[in-house]
């Protein structure tokens, strides 16, 4: 019999879960799922070294462990803090966390252009979801938003630096997936930007994955640019035989047209298997793919059918406010409209009907 592994018991928002040692608080919370999972804008489980930067996943540790039950003095980044046995974590039950998270969301949004109406990411943007959940309706920022000099990253990838939240995910992708990273973070502070130092196209077979990992619309697909809104397209699982990658993708279709190809994403919006640039940018014909079936749209998307499950219609309130009386019919549209005059038998009119056929004045 294999040696029994000791599991760590961790309590998050009064829900206890047993996880393997070395699991981060965020991943433990993901095992529970639902509302107790802190949002993560920069952490990406498939990218080594990511996380800790956006500070949206801050949680309060009310007790460090059974051995040392002292609370941690500061809020900790749950994506980069490992659980201890007997740890008690507060996420949505902590006002401090909610307050800090609202602050972080505000900070992320003050310089964000909020150009969702023209942004290709809209509809599947993690920052949109985050600000719906934790943001305020108004802004307290009364200054010009920061802008950047435009950088061209080549024929496939469009960079909108103003939308960037500097999660560093694309940097990690380039470092861990490609053999040579040509883009990175230049400058520092609030004028830090993603760019290639010398104007250069990102050119690597797997560099297209930066589009998928970008939580906002900073890196988007140039071949899909302004083609359509995400929620008008229909995602299907498809695959092809590709000699570079697994070939397992989502096709975003409208009719028979393949508008966009992305990697398959799991419920946390993370790519399951990286795909190559050929699959992503070149194979835009339905004949290139074997369609496997529709996609269960993840929770990050407005296209998710889940939003309409158990939809509750508003109650009819007329009779209630009118003390039980039914509303008086003000105008019966059928009795006024000449076109819909029910006593004219359209089938009996030879040829196309004219206004004269419905003329009440002539009394026909």
């Amino acid at each position: 019999m294999a040696e029994e592994k000791k599991l760590f018991k961790v309590t998050i928002d009064n829900i206890t879960v047993e996880v393997e040692p070395g699991t981060s608080i965020l991943n433990a919370a993901r095992q529970i799922g639902g509302d107790v999972t802190p949002p993560a804008m920069c952490y990406y489980s498939k990218l080594k070294g990511s996380g800790g930067k956006c500070r949206t996943c801050l949680v309060e540790v009310a007790a460090g462990s059974t051995a040392d039950p002292r609370p941690m003095p500061k809020l900790v980044a749950s994506c980069r803090t490992n659980v201890m046995d007997g740890m008690i974590v507060k996420n949505i039950t902590s006002e401090k966390v909610q307050d800090a998270r609202a602050g972080v969301v505000e900070f992320l949004l003050i310089n964000h252009p909020l150009d969702c109406p023209i942004c290709d990411q809209a509809g599947e943007c993690h920052l949109q979801d985050l600000s719906y959940e934790h943001g305020k309706e108004g802004t307290r920022f009364e200054f010009a938003k920061r802008t950047f000099k435009k950088h061209d990253l080549g024929p496939y990838i469009q960079l909108h630096m103003t939308r960037c939240i500097l999660c560093y995910r694309c940097v990690f992708v380039a470092e861990q997936l490609t053999n040579k990273r040509v883009h990175g973070v230049l400058d520092r502070g609030d004028h830090a930007e993603i760019a290639t130092y010398i104007e250069k196209a990102l050119d690597n077979d797997f560099i297209g994955n930066v589009i998928d990992v970008c939580p906002v619309g900073a890196l988007t697909d140039k071949t899909f640019r302004f083609k359509n809104r995400v929620w008008f397209t229909k995602p299907v699982n498809a695959s092809c035989k590709c000699d570079k990658c697994s070939g397992k993708v989502h096709l975003w279709m409208r009719g028979d047209e393949v508008l966009r190809v992305t990697a398959r994403k799991d419920q946390w919006g993370e790519v399951e298997e990286w795909i190559c640039n050929t699959c992503r940018f070149e194979r835009k014909d339905i004949k290139d793919w074997t369609i496997e079936g529709p996609v269960n749209v993840n929770r990050h998307s407005v296209i998710s059918q889940g939003h309409y499950v158990g939809l509750k219609m508003p109650d009819e309130t007329f009779s209630k406010v009118m003390n039980g009386r039914q509303p008086k019919l003000l105008m019966d549209i059928h009795s006024v409209s000449e076109v819909n005059k029910p006593n004219v038998n359209l089938a009996a009119i030879p040829g196309p009907a004219h206004s004269t056929d419905f003329d009440t004045k002539t009394g026909k």
Binding site: G103, L166, R188, G189
Partner: protein, 478 residues
């Protein structure tokens, strides 16, 4: 000179100690100098003179001890980190992991970029051998065969001084292979920074030393486990490492007798601002803030006969204190120049020892303008890695600029308070805190000055607010 202020000072102090008579007020250690005792000696920068003054005795003594014994001495001395946080150095040393077959490193943090702090520069520029000696002893204690000095890029001329001192030490057998026949090898390398305040944070410093972008790492793992090139590393401030020399020479217990309470030994204070004698002073942490500012031995009083308005006692990132809270704590006790007394009352009525950058403001200084200057500094120096600091520092700067130029609104003050509250404690490294604290303290203690700026947008462009009620309590008596 400052006769008016000096005279007023004497009147008010009748019941207190006299400046000229220091021996009456403190123990025998008062005024003791350990680090700067030979600073006045001509040619102390060079090996021959330094050796003649008794230099490198600590190395000779230490190499006959065991590394554990040296760590024990440093622990006994109660030496606290001089870089700002004040963490006990001996404790830090004892945390270093010692895995088999993996080299360990000592890194000297000479990236002294805190506005108002220039003590390390003085030490390195005039007595470089003291640092080298401290580094050799500490390297031996920690088992570091390759030791690095990470020096601020703006100190362009100091690396040459250090390199020369290293070469001299090497020529005399204190560095290199088999130092003094002890079998211990040690090399010291000087690495220049490229001009970033953030690289004074120890993990950012390590990243920069490795040749990467100076972004602070997320802790844990701490540098004592995974530091430079994932090897166990200790990062210490210049002054901390220099203080190891007197600790070895005197012995830890003897060193601990200097100073008071948990503030043992001597501390270098770099005094600047509106004082008569700006400079680097070595104090033994038993003197009061009042004495430090007004005595002729130290700052020599406020310049031009003006009155004291406020002071930042530990470098730009610690909270500013108005004169009445600076000289006396909220409880009415005298405030002393040491870790405990300066932080007495928490941030509500106290401050911090910090890195020892003592910035004094006279009545003509505008706290709003000063806070704006600091906010601008922190916006410029934020690494941009984590959101609260990246976005918050820029936002605070913009609001402060508005208030400073008379375009502010009353609600801006509350907004500033809210922003700093949301930055503090929510960032990866302490730079977020350092950016938030000065703003918080300025609003906490000088809110009326901010409000005056908002209410008098035109007048605030022409003249300063002056002293108001937070003036030096002593002056009011006089």
């Amino acid at each position: 000179m400052a006769t008016g202020s000096q005279a007023g000072y004497q009147i008010a102090r009748t019941t207190k100690i006299k400046l000229s008579d220091r021996n009456n007020i403190a123990d025998q250690n008062m005024g003791v100098k350990l680090l700067l005792k030979d600073a006045h000696v001509e040619g102390i920068r060079y090996y021959d003179t330094y050796r003649k003054q008794g230099g490198y005795a600590a190395v000779e003594k230490a190499l006959k001890m065991t590394p554990e014994a040296i760590v024990e001495e440093v622990k006994k001395s109660g030496l606290r980190g001089r870089g700002g946080a004040g963490f006990p150095a001996g404790m830090k040393w004892s945390f270093i992991a010692k895995p088999e077959g993996i080299p360990r490193h000592l890194v000297c943090n000479a990236d002294e970029s805190e506005p108002g702090t220039f003590k390390d520069r003085y030490l390195m520029e005039f007595i470089p051998h003291l640092l080298i000696e401290g580094l050799i002893v500490s390297s031996f204690a920690l088992g570091s065969n390759a030791t690095y000095i990470y020096i601020r890029g703006e100190y362009a001329w100091i690396p040459d001084i250090l390199e020369q001192a290293i070469a001299e030490a090497k020529a005399n057998g204190f560095l290199g292979k088999n130092i003094l026949g002890s079998g211990f090898d040690c090399e010291i390398y000087v690495q220049r920074g490229a001009g970033a305040y953030i690289c004074g944070e120890e993990t950012a410093l390590i990243e920069s030393l490795e040749g990467k972008r100076g972004n602070p790492r997320i802790k844990p793992p701490f540098p004592a486990v995974k530091g430079v090139w994932d090897r166990p590393t200790v990062v210490n401030n210049v002054e901390t490492l220099a203080a190891v020399v007197p600790i070895i020479n005197l012995g830890g217990e003897e060193y601990a007798k200097i100073g008071v309470g948990r503030s043992t030994g001597t501390k270098l204070i770099s005094a600047c601002g509106n004082i008569n004698k700006p400079g680097v002073y070595e104090i033994d942490m038993t003197i009061s803030v009042e004495e430090f500012i007004y005595s002729d031995e130290y700052c020599g009083g406020i310049a031009n006969g003006k009155r004291l308005k406020a002071c930042i006692p530990g470098g730009a990132s610690v909270p500013i204190l108005p004169a009445n809270l600076l000289l006396k704590t909220a409880k009415g006790e005298t405030r002393y120049m040491n870790y405990e007394s300066l932080s007495d009352g928490g941030f509500a009525t106290g401050s911090m020892m910090g890195s020892g950058g003592f910035i004094v403001f006279d009545e003509d200084q505008c706290v709003v303008k000063h806070t704006y200057t600091l906010a601008r500094f922190y916006r410029h120096e934020s690494c941009g890695q984590c959101s609260p600091c990246r976005e918050g520092t820029g936002w605070m700067e913009k609001i402060l600029k508005n208030i400073d130029t008379g375009k502010g609104k009353m609600s801006d003050i509350d907004l500033l308070w809210d922003i700093q509250r949301k930055i503090e404690g929510n960032t990866i490294c302490p730079l977020g805190d350092a950016a938030a604290w000065p703003v918080a303290a300025a609003i906490r203690h000088f809110r009326d000055e901010f409000e005056w700026h908002v209410l008098n947008p035109e007048e605030c462009q022409r003249r300063n607010y002056g002293l108001a009620h937070y003036a030096d309590a002593r002056e009011v008596v006089a």
